[in-house]
Amino acid sequence: MAITKADLANALFNELGLNKREAKEFVELFFEKIRGALEDGTSVKLSGFGNFGVRKKNSRPGRNPKTGEEIPISARRVVTFKASQKLKDRVASNADQLRQHLNQK
């Protein structure tokens, strides 16, 4: 089962002693803060976890993969995430357990 906002709020409740309402609000505010920054085109750096950034994409010709019909893809801004080396190393160091865990799914 995937981790959700409720799980994150619960962890803050259990581990930091925030009350449930505070924890829930905090999780909400945390993600809203990141959304707001990215919306303004500001990148967000979370040390030990990773960086969120915004990239401008030029318009390019695209294709409907089903019909083969050509349609233009408009210029847009997209969010990118780059995991920090620390997080990547942490995931990589758990390779054995991951192999078992993900094979069960």
Binding site: M1, A2, I3, T4, K5, D7, L8, A11, L12, E15, L16, L18, E22, A23, E25, F26, V27, L29, F30, F31, K33, I34, R35, L38, E39, D40, G41, V44, K45, L46, S47, G48, F49, G50, F52, V54, K56, R76, R77, V78, V79, F81, A83, L87, K88, R90, V91, A92, N94, A95, Q97, L98, H101, L102
Partner: protein
């Protein structure tokens, strides 16, 4: 770091809460758990098969073992807000 302003929490508590939140997310990913936050996006792991890499300096071939790397997919609300903000300026 993130400057989250929250009226009922002291600055130090916010710092602790941010740390706790990130630690919880990092731990989940490390254990191969997906994270889904509606309106924000989801974090998951992508598998990278083993490959033969090269030392860019010497050109020597080195084996790179298979691994999982963290991946983020922006959710609908985040995608739309970031994109419409661009067309507004």
């Amino acid at each position: 770091m993130l400057a989250a302003e929250q009226p009922q929490l002291a600055y130090r508590d916010v710092e602790l809460a941010v740390k706790g939140l990130l630690e919880c997310m990092a731990k989940a990913l490390t254990e191969g758990e997906r994270i889904e936050v509606r309106g924000f996006g989801s974090f998951s792991l992508h598998y990278r098969p083993a490959r033969v890499g090269r030392n860019p300096k010497t050109g020597a071939a080195v084996g790179v073992p298979d691994k999982h790397v963290p991946h983020f997919k922006p959710g609908k609300e985040l995608r739309e807000r970031v994109d419409t903000a661009s067309s507004a300026r």
